[in-house]
């Protein structure tokens, strides 16, 4: 245990260094959310005038989706990197070191958290420049990042579990396809009241809905909205369950 924190720290630094080299590699995962935010906020702005739509601009309404999507797209990369470490032989090097092996997995989570914060910050700056107003202020921004980081770490665990079980980069990469249904079957584009009944019920079963709603509450309304707590519960539950499953998978891989 006495070396656990130093092992965790140094492996985290290693992972963080690798994701920023080259820095240009971070752009593709930002391109999609920026593109969709720009296109949707311009082309669908009139949607905000539809009866039943909250009294906010469409741009402000979809801003949480842009921040969320930036993180959603990139968090799955942790699994691909893990496959590279396995197939390239680097994981073996780590396994035959006198380190706490749990630090290998937890260092991946630190990498994901760091990447999420950096990509989220870039999106935040772009949104502020675009004129989006964050009603909950700086404390709200910290809260948004808290929810996002929990979600990102949980989501990255799915890719890591696939990586540990399948050890196949193409299979891990195909997890990318899950982003679209998970993002679409939510209230990302329209409030729940304006959705067809069946679709609205389906969004209730999607944890991503609660996360988007929590961020939206912080952007549009400030603190006090129960959606914020629900978002934390959804992200926190995903985090606890998926991190536990990842650790179990990792221990199984070592056996």
């Amino acid at each position: 245990m006495n070396t656990f924190f130093s092992d965790w720290y140094y492996l985290s630094i290693r992972n963080i260094k690798l994701i920023w080299r080259p820095i240009m590699a971070l752009i593709p995962s930002l391109f999609m959310p920026i593109f969709f935010f720009a296109v949707n906020s311009l082309s669908l702005s009139a949607f905000a005038k539809v009866p039943g739509f909250p009294n906010v601009s469409y741009k402000d309404f979809i801003a949480p989706v842009a921040i969320f999507t930036a993180i959603f797209f990139s968090a799955g990369n942790a699994g691909i990197e893990l496959v590279q470490d396995i197939t390239g032989g680097y994981l073996k090097k780590l396994i035959i070191m006198p380190i706490n092996k749990l630090a290998i997995v937890l260092a991946k989570l630190v990498e994901v958290a760091f990447q999420s914060i950096m990509q989220g910050l870039i999106m935040l700056v772009l949104l502020l420049l675009w004129g989006v107003h964050f009603h909950s202020g700086i404390l709200g921004v910290f809260t948004i990042f808290g929810i996002l980081v929990l979600f990102a770490m949980g989501w990255s665990c799915i890719s890591m579990i696939i990586a540990l079980r399948a050890q196949n980069a193409r299979l891990v990469q195909s997890m990318f396809l899950l982003v679209f249904p998970l993002l679409s079957i939510t209230t990302s584009a329209a409030p729940r009241a304006l959705l067809p009944h069946t679709f609205a019920v389906a969004t209730d079963y999607n944890p991503v809905t609660y996360i988007i709603e929590a961020i939206r509450a912080l952007v549009l309304n400030g603190f006090g909205d129960p959606a914020i707590t629900k978002g934390f519960i959804a992200a926190g539950t995903m985090f606890v369950v998926l991190v536990t499953l990842t650790v179990i998978s990792f221990r199984k891989t070592l056996k």
């Binding site: 070396t3 140094y10 080259p22 994981l91 073996k92 090097k93 035959i96 070191m97 006198p98 380190i99």
Partner: protein, 263 residues
Amino acid sequence: MSKNIIEVKNLVKTYPPDVKAVQGVTFDVKEGEFFGFLGPNGAGKSTTMNMLVNLVKKTSGSVKIDGLEVDQNLDEVYKRVGFAMQEVGLDEVATAREMMQLHGRLYHLQPAEIDAQIKKLLKLVELEKVADKFTSTYSGGMRRRFDLALSLIHNPKILFLDEPTQGLDPHARQLIWGHIKNLNKQGMTIFLTTHFMDEAEQLCERIAIMDKGVIVTEGSPAELMKKHDAKNLEEVFLKTTGSNLANEEVNNNAADPYIRARQ
């Protein structure tokens, strides 16, 4: 008389349903010895070597490294061994110095000790000039040499080398041989697997040849040549192992479960 630093008794590895990759292998390696572990493809060499450091779980048998039962003292064993594997496995966008610093820290060395080791080892493998370049810019030979240096960062007592010169040109091979010989002269125990018989003949003091999961012969190169009435080690190898290609087992330890299932 040197003590045994590696002691292997009745080591067995069976993959489901009933593939016997290693069938009761027993051998010892003395401290400071240069030991060669040879055999045709699929003979069970890499499986045996991986079991020695618990990278592959043994089915039965016993492995002791420096007097320590491996599966009960993993961290202590890992402090004593270095392993240069077939897969070089480097961080492509890290420099040699960064990787060595990281590994030194993960072996819990003091910063001054890490710096001294980096300087010494990069000089040993003649990579001082490219210490601050990304490893992705290295040639195949440079990558192998760097991997050798990396496996030595914690100054291990035993160095495992799994085909360290595979895919290298003769010049690069000679360089690696020189480095390994020097390490052995300094007292490091070397455990080498290779397919190059000239390599084994030149470097190893004692050799075990494995075939179909068992050790078929063991001794110094001179003893083996005499025993099997052969002109060189290659002839010994051919006489003791024959061709194994038709009966070669599939890789039941393949990383990808899909590939394993297809086999």
